[in-house]
Symmetry: C2
Subunit: 327 residues, 2 copies
């Protein structure tokens, strides 16, 4: 690792929560030094369109095009295609805005024409004027299946159509047997200039886990000299967004930041928890993980930048500790 | 054939010009007695969507949803998906409005789920509140290829992308070797209650010809006791809309109503030409085709209804002539 100005930052992100921190990081790190690897196990084919919800959330958020009132999708969005589809009795449980459909038409067509998801993502990124490198976790399809007492559900059917109501008993990531991690992602994990790996405050089970399960990823994360830092997606026993806390209950885990730290285990060098969970700091430290206690709730851009600065400062302190002889 | 109140009307239509007359007919004929069979040789797959331009023009026109200022597409249309696609460098030569995309998403998905084009058209019809029966000419794909000196072009590439600029040397209708005419279309041609077959003022070469070339259609049209009447798409040497006149020039035909009558030949019992072409009436009559000279330009709904009433009156006079003993 060289000095912090040149150090490369790798962030692993799911959708909305991860994108918030990624936006903060993008505001303080030169684009050539920031790479966000995004979960694609939520991707699905719907109405003939290839939809990558987490990648799009990242793209729209970093482009300043996300709809903050709504909490998902694009701003200045309209719903004309969905209204027509609804008149025809079509499937409208997954709401696709007209602008968003433009993205999906582009992606679907480019994939059909033989481009990789990485190439398509690059093309979308350029169209949206995003400078940060955004990589799908894999160019091969991996698809989360949520196990429930009534059988498996594909992720978007669980998440959107069933609104996370079914009880979760486990997860399968179909396609992992043949998928490879995105090559630049693997290269970056081996890059001597890598300064930190940041696991964004995304769902550990369905957003982060699929990335970790890709061949070589966990091993390389354990062997990189760069510190691996996660930001807890659980604050005061709740998930800021999404079903992480509900899943933890159903999987018989305490809904605590500590339980998330235990879940990631020895993958982590550092763990950032919210002030409201300060009482868990010593238990997390006992796992051999350094803990930083700061405000982690990101309501506005200032919060996102402040947390990103804390992440970077924390990573630098951990990097110094990692140096031989403690220099 | 029974009396005119019960007689069934079969109209053959392409896009805009045919839809105008179909709308007039729909205003004066009970929905259960009017069937419009629509050309599908212009259909194509674009951006992964199954698009049936002529069927949609019929549906939108009969639903009162067509964009009359623009001359094609839907009213109250927006273009958000296309704007996004354009930002990404996607293919935007075929403009798809957001509402229109809703139609194509529905059709594409239903076809993928195994529904026939007839079933999908019925479903779209119901969603739009259209009462008239609208049938695709075939449930199997037939695709017009326009022959040009630089090679063949698929129809929409010729018509929209190249804006009818290339010289036409001929046409191929791919798929005709395996396609069947829509079964209800064939049944209606054999229905003793069929009162008239109306060939709408559509392009003879690329809108009407594919329907005529389907197995059994021409034969049944020749054998039906119902009169077959065409309305000339050529008025004063010009096509009201589209490349019909340009095609006739390039195919070394005079751009006249007479040449259209010659083209349809003995298929026709009657031919309706515009007042401005009255001087061609006797030459057409010499072909053994009855001629009606009336105003045929349809600028507004009144014009459409007036022409439709002329068509029906003409058909009744021809039907009487067709009766044995001239009764």
């Amino acid at each position: 690792m060289t000095n912090s100005k040149q150090a490369k930052v790798l962030a692993l992100s799911g959708g909305v929560g991860g994108a918030k921190l990624a936006l903060g990081l993008a505001n303080i790190i030169d684009p050539q030094n920031l790479t966000v690897v995004v979960n694609t196990a939520d991707d699905f084919e719907h109405l003939g369109l290839s939809i990558s919800p987490d990648i799009d959330t990242l793209l729209y958020t970093l482009a300043g095009e996300s709809n903050q009132q709504q909490g998902w999708g694009l701003k200045n969005e309209t719903w004309q295609a969905m209204t027509m589809l609804n008149n025809f009795g079509g499937e409208t449980w997954f709401q696709l805005g007209d602008r968003d459909i433009g993205t999906h038409l582009m992606r679907s067509q480019a994939l059909k024409n033989g481009k990789s998801l990485s190439q398509v993502t690059e093309l979308l990124k350029q169209g949206l004027g995003v400078k940060t490198t955004i990589l799908p976790m894999s160019d091969q399809p991996v698809r989360t299946m949520v196990q429930t007492p009534s059988g498996p559900l594909s992720f978007q059917h669980y998440f959107v159509r069933e609104q996370c109501q079914p009880q979760v008993t486990g997860f399968n990531f179909n396609g992992l047997d043949t998928a490879q991690a995105q090559p630049e992602f693997l290269q970056l994990l081996q890059d001597p200039n890598l300064g930190v790996v940041v696991i964004c405050p995304s769902n550990p089970f369905v957003s982060v886990e699929p990335m970790l399960q890709l061949p070589n990823v966990k091993q390389l994360m354990k062997h990189t000299s760069a510190p691996v830092i996660a930001v807890s997606p659980i604050v005061a026993g709740l998930a800021i967004k999404g079903p992480a806390a509900k899943m933890m209950q159903e999987l018989n885990m305490p809904t605590t930041a500590l339980a998330v730290a235990q879940y990631y285990g020895d993958l982590l060098d550092g763990f950032i928890i919210d002030e409201s969970d300060a009482d868990q700091a010593s238990a997390i430290a006992k796992l051999g993980i350094e803990v930083l206690v700061v405000p982690t709730i990101m309501k506005n851009l200032d919060d996102k930048i402040a947390l990103s600065e804390q992440v970077m400062k924390f990573s630098q302190s951990l990097a110094v500790e990692n140096l031989p002889c403690g220099l």
